[in-house]
Amino acid sequence: MAPAISDDEAPAEAVDQDTFTIGGRELTSRLLLGTGGFRSLEALAAGIEASGAELVTVALRRIDPGARGSLVDVLAAAGVRLLPNTAGCFTARDAVLTAKLAREAFETDWVKLEVIGDEHTLLPDAPALLEAAEELVDGGFTVLPYTNDDPILARRLEDVGCAAVMPLGSPIGSGQGLLNPYNLRLIREHAGVPVILDAGVGTASDAALAMELGCDAVLCASAISRAEDPATMARAIRLGVEAGRLAFRAGRIPRRLYAQASTPEEGRSEF
């Protein structure tokens, strides 16, 4: 019996075809990788490889002379597409300007838009996020907003033209998983753009659950980069995302209050 990994018959085939589209661009991998928290560029490269991610985040900070190696070169070598974020911005104004600088620096008009409400929880500031999203969409950006799990805000973000919505499962880096699956389901039910679970995933089953709820993809940073063995966790979460996606498509059995025998009752012996 070959283990799951080393056989690529039909099923794998099927999986290859199950793509999704953001801003007109087709994506095969449903795991987006955040680059924050990797202990070295080597660890990052290994993590990207193991994750299978096609789209990875980067941030902008003031140059510091001491900076070793070039992150951009490593990402280019990995052949991934960059998704700049606006991490650390607490106002719509700063987020918009940061997005414009990122477009300049990375030659992409895609942006993972973050407008943070406080440093303690790093939760998004709903009104400021919506304001910044609208301005950036008008400015020609492909906007992927990091949002909370509010179904109404998700709809407003789509209404102003965001290319996807990225609700959180729980606070960034908390590893608490999906605190409110119900809201995520509501978001998915009403969304006309891809829903990407962002923030909170702690382990593979969290990622699988997100996909089973109908999310189109999952973005992970700390769960992978800060795991004891980042490359192995990258692979674990990659498989979790795929497992959840396949389960979503396979049509799970309903939950029953009582048992249902998996062995028929008829024909039982009477000794």
Partner: protein, 66 residues
Amino acid sequence: MNVLVNGEPTELEHGATVEAVLASLELPDRGVAVAVDAEVVPRGEWPAHELSEGARVEVLRAIQGG
């Protein structure tokens, strides 16, 4: 002429350009962007864009994040 480069007070001769400022910093050739007084200065304008007294220059580079 005094300007702020990434928050650091810096003295430059009058009419210095963005490019002049960048020259003094070891920059990677990719993943860099510059803002002056909260406005983006596209790479193409670095040579021509002259700074004025008190300008706030932000020179940013790619880092791991998100």
